[in-house]
Every structure is written in structure tokens, then in C-alpha cells.
Symmetry: C2
Subunit: 136 residues, 2 copies
DNA sequence: TTAAACTGTAATAAAACTAGTTACATTATA
DNA sequence: TATAATGTAACTAGTTTTATTACAGTTTAA
């Protein structure tokens, strides 16, 4: 993050929730999302690693949810795709001679952590099932 | 966002708060942040446009806070630098034939708005003065 | 036992975004 | 009038993200 991965991951998971335990192919998922199947399979690697889904190889293979959608929160999904802080990453090294520059990164990190925590709390208010049920 | 602009903007504003009404040059700001003065001046354009600071041209010119730091919240600063949603932007166009694809962007937008609102509320708990006073 | 339909993954390319640089006109001061 | 600033534009470089291609491995079913 920040990019389209959260949207892709959530889209995949909603489709799997709707599939009700049937294996879904990356080609089908890609068709709904309108991206390349290889991109879907890349996101599936991550979702699998985080325990959200399970895949079966070979003909008639595909992917299913590994847990009931009500046990997966949007905050957990967010965490699985985010790689950098929401507010930005400190790759800049401010002037260590300056009393402000010297300390700003640690203060920023604290701020970012607090903020991110609030964001995840907000997302945790909704489960994948809650979100999925918005689609009639 | 998401990039270093929030950090740069906040760093600038802390330095201005510490300057206590004295004009500060972009060269000085750049020296503390450790970036190019032109980058600072670019961020100052935005900060000025949002009413946070005022600049004076010419020799001995520089920038000052336009308002007391206690009247500026971190949420306001965040809003001034963010250009896209925290969770990602919908530039992808999912399959309109698919009942999920057809509706996902509007559900995502709702979710993003709710989440962003919570994030800004969190940031609004702190004023620029609060943040600046963390630097001894 | 073999063709077909999948996943898994790597390598590469293209596109988009972010950050950095240079240059110089303009403005104000001493 | 020299100097030290800002204000901007144009351009370049770097990084990240997304997309594409390719193919080996796996499973199924005829």
C-alpha cells in the first residue's frame, strides 16, 4: 500500500464468499476484477500466506475461503496488504545537527502508529461477511 | 499521498512554530529536513494555499505561521497534502457484467470514506502546538 | 496414459508516481 | 545596485506499482 492491492484482495474475498465453498479459478476472479490472472494469483499467494484462503492445484482446481467470512475482519485484510505506513515512510534522513530534524522521525513514527491503529480499529468494525452482504 | 509530503509539511510547520514569528528561509528549512530548497518551496506553495503560512519575498524574506499553532490540527495538515484515498484509488474498472464487479467500487468508496474520516478524527486530536511541544 | 485445465512462480517490461535538480525571473533590502 | 530571498517552470532521475509473458508442475477425467 498504498495502491490497489486492498481493493483487489477484498474483491477476491467477496467473490469467494459468494461462491459458498466452491473452488473458484484465478481466471474467473480475474474476469470479474478485470485484471490479469497472474496478478490474481500473486495476490492469492499473499492471502494464502495470511491464512485467509486455500488453493487446490491442477484441473478443476481453484481457491476457497479458509474460514467463515464472519471470522475475517477488514482490518486483518488491510494488514495483509499494507507494506508501508499510511502516512508515508521515513526514508529521508533529516539533519542530525538540528534539534527538530534529529528527533522528528521518532515523533512521526509514534504518530503514524497511533493513527494506523485507529484506522485498523475502524476497519475491524466490519467483517468480510458484513461487507459481502452489501452486495444483493 | 501516500508519500513523504505529510512528513515534510509537518516538519516545516514545526520549524516555523519554533521560530516564534521570525521569518524562516526555505534554505534553512531545507537544511533541517535535508532536502532541496526547491522542494521546500513547492510544499510552501501548498501550505500557503491552505492558509497555514504566509511568505515574504525578497531579501530577508521567508515564511511564518499564519495562525497560532494551537489552532492548526494535524488532520487539517493531512488533508492539505493528501491527494488520493488512504486505501487506494479506484482506477480499475471491474467487469460490469459481474454483480460483484458492477458494484464493488461504490461499496469501496463508502468504506474508504468512513475509514478516512476515522483517520482524520484521530489526527485532529492533536494540534500543531501539541506535536511541536514534544520537541524539547 | 495423455490432453486439458488449472496453480505456482519467475523474469521482464511498461506505466505511473514521487522526488530531485536546475534555472531563472521577480521581489525586497541594505 | 549588489545581494538574498521567493516563485515557478521545465526537466530528469528514481522508485514503486501494475501488467505481461512464459512455462514448469499438478490434478482430473476421458
Amino acid at each position: 500500500m498504498n495502491n490497489g492491492r486492498f481493493a483487489t484482495a477484498l474483491h477476491i474475498l467477496v467473490l469467494l464468499e459468494k461462491a459458498n465453498g466452491e473452488l473458484v479459478s484465478s481466471g474467473y476472479l480475474a474476469g470479474s476484477i478485470n485484471i490479469n490472472p497472474a496478478m490474481v494469483r500473486k495476490e492469492l499467494i499473499s492471502l494464502r500466506k495470511h491464512g485467509f484462503v486455500e488453493s487446490k492445484e491442477g484441473k478443476n482446481g481453484g481457491t476457497i475461503l479458509a474460514h467463515p467470512a464472519k471470522n475475517i475482519t477488514l482490518g486483518q485484510i488491510y494488514k495483509s496488504v499494507k507494506q508501508v505506513s499510511i502516512l508515508g515512510q521515513q526514508k529521508n534522513i533529516p539533519n542530525p545537527q538540528c534539534p527538530i530534524g534529529k528527533n522528528i522521525n521518532s515523533h512521526l513514527n509514534n504518530l503514524y502508529n497511533e493513527t494506523e491503529h485507529a484506522l485498523i480499529e475502524q476497519l475491524n468494525k466490519q467483517s468480510l461477511a458484513d461487507f459481502s452482504h452489501k452486495f444483493v
